[in-house]
């Protein structure tokens, strides 16, 4: 079974905006999973991706990809990033401005393969932009080029650093499909940094929550983000933006992932542990929800 398991047990002292944080990360998951690393900024998510890519060396620990050791501080093994068979998609995409769309994809190929380039261009809807330079593309198009390039490398491990953070909300929903496509097409294990709950629910098979450098919860998204005793029919996640008192009750205003505002009535004891900025789950048991399609397609 070991051949199908990715094991990570690393420690690294990081300097963050919140001061020194010891990243101590110990987990494992199956190959083929789409894992989301979820948590606040400065928690160590990006550092962890960079450690997996070999761009940052952990202070100690082991990284094992199936039966291959990528890093082992005791045995002094540290495989160079070039030999790790990964693709890291950067937050700023890092497309090379001197190369065309096609050129960027070709560059990533271990061996030149024109048919594969054609395929990637057409799967990601980039055929008509093939001769364009990255500066002449929109944000969504760049993201697609970055994904296509990442897959062209044929990685075992696909690392995505906040792949959708640079895009607006409508675009995000559309491009979530592209990420799924990339994950399925590459057959790789995908690890994605995200702080968008919507994205995590939609895409991830596993979610690992990191806070102050260590894992505090992990599992399937629906297990991690809701208490098991909630059997609500409607569950919406969002962030508290305002808590105001009205007569004997409080009105809690929550903004959801797609920028909708929900007002929830809460009693004093309900809001004891709630603060502005908290990510919360709004659920309802009493009503029968009705579903309707918003947009065609």
């Amino acid at each position: 079974m070991e051949g199908n398991i990715i094991r990570i047990d690393v420690e690294k002292l990081m300097l963050t905006v919140n001061g020194k944080v010891n990243l101590a990360f110990n987990t494992q998951f199956n190959t083929g999973d789409l894992v989301a690393l979820f948590g606040p900024s400065g928690a160590g998510k990006t550092t962890l991706l960079r450690i997996l890519a070999g761009l940052v060396n952990p202070d100690r620990g082991v990284i094992k990809m199936g039966n291959t050791i990528w890093f082992d501080s005791d045995k002094k093994i540290n495989i160079a990033p070039q030999s790790r068979n990964i693709s890291l998609m950067f937050q700023d995409y890092a497309l090379f401005p001197n190369m065309t769309v096609e050129g960027n994809i070709e560059y990533a190929q271990p061996e030149k393969d024109n048919t594969a380039v054609e395929e990637l261009l057409s799967v990601f809807g980039l055929s008509e932009f093939r001769k364009r330079k990255p500066n002449a593309l929109s944000g969504g198009q760049r993201q697609r080029v970055a994904l296509a390039r990442a897959i062209a490398r044929k990685p075992q491990l696909l690392l995505l650093d906040e792949p959708l953070s640079a895009l607006d909300i409508d675009m995000r929903v559309q491009l979530q499909n592209e990420i799924l496509k990339a994950h399925q097409l590459s057959g790789a294990t995908t690890i994605m940094v995200s702080h968008d709950l919507n994205e995590v629910f939609r895409l991830a098979t596993q979610v690992i929550c990191i806070e102050y450098g260590s894992v505090n919860r992990k599992g399937k998204p629906e297990e991690v983000f809701s208490d098991n005793n909630i059997s609500g029919k409607v569950q919406i996640t969002g962030q508290i933006v305002r808590i105001s008192k009205q007569d004997t009750v409080n009105i809690v205003t929550v903004i959801t992932g797609n920028n909708k505002i929900i007002k929830v009535i809460a009693f004093d004891n309900d809001i004891e542990n709630l603060n502005i900025g908290d990510t919360v789950l709004v659920f309802s048991k009493a009503f029968n929800p009705i579903i309707t399609r918003l947009k065609p397609g």
């Binding site: 990033p81 890291l88 950067f90 990533a108 271990p110």
Partner: protein, 226 residues
């Protein structure tokens, strides 16, 4: 046009072209090292590379003469092994000129590399490419303006050299006599017409080179690139 005039221009041009050509080969790896190395004594090396910008040319010229002298280690070794003496030769001037113009090549290249997002280099490496492939296919093509700036600046600076050439090369017509020295010479001899010709040519060349630098960098403010 008399022969000595053309000869002087030829020596000037030869020196500038050779200096620039040698410096681009040396400058790119030096700039790469300065940008990406985490070596502890890097600030000392950076200071050393930039020294010619602040030192009087006569100081560099003096040290070059000391190094070239057959009475000292390097000069002695050259004289004994190859029967070569560098003082007051074109090659001697060329070596001094390479050292003297080093910062004018390295600084713009170093700046160009520093301003590139680090993710370019890291993306290329994580895509499995070696540092050399990354350097030639990703880094160099994306600092083209810096390369043009560095080349033009080095060329212009070499043409404008006076002190170092005078100290190391003397003023030997056809060998080490360059335009900037010829101007001084002609003025001393009250030969203003000849001085004027040299001066005008240097003025126009420098103007064209600087105009090139500013126009390739028009997107960014040129002083940031230099």
């Amino acid at each position: 046009m008399d022969t000595s005039f053309l000869q002087t221009l030829w020596v000037t041009l030869k020196l500038a072209v050779a200096t620039t050509a040698i410096l681009i080969v040396i400058g790119l790896p030096v700039a790469y090292w300065l940008t990406y190395s985490r070596f502890r004594i890097k600030p000392l090396i950076e200071a050393l590379v930039s020294m010619p910008m602040v030192l009087p040319p006569s100081v560099i010229g003096y040290y070059m003469l000391v190094i070239y002298s057959p009475r000292n280690w390097f000069g002695g070794w050259l004289a004994e092994t190859f029967d070569v003496r560098l003082a007051f030769t074109f090659e001697g001037v060329l070596i001094a000129s390479v050292i003297f113009s080093l910062p004018f090549m390295v600084q713009p290249l170093h700046n160009g590399l520093r301003l590139l997002p680090d993710s370019f280099r890291e993306a290329s490496i994580t895509l499995g490419k070696s540092k050399t492939v990354t350097f030639f296919r990703v880094l160099i093509p994306n600092i083209k303006t810096s390369i043009i700036t560095a080349v033009a600046l080095t060329f212009a600076h070499t043409i404008g050299e006076f002190g170092v050439v005078l100290m190391v090369g003397g003023n030997m017509p056809g060998i080490t006599r360059v335009a900037s020295i010829a101007i001084y010479d002609e003025v001393q001899a009250l030969n203003f017409a000849a001085a004027n010709r040299y001066a005008l040519i240097l003025f126009i060349m420098s103007f064209i080179l600087l105009a090139t630098i500013y126009s390739v960098n028009k997107k960014q403010e040129a002083w940031k690139v230099i």
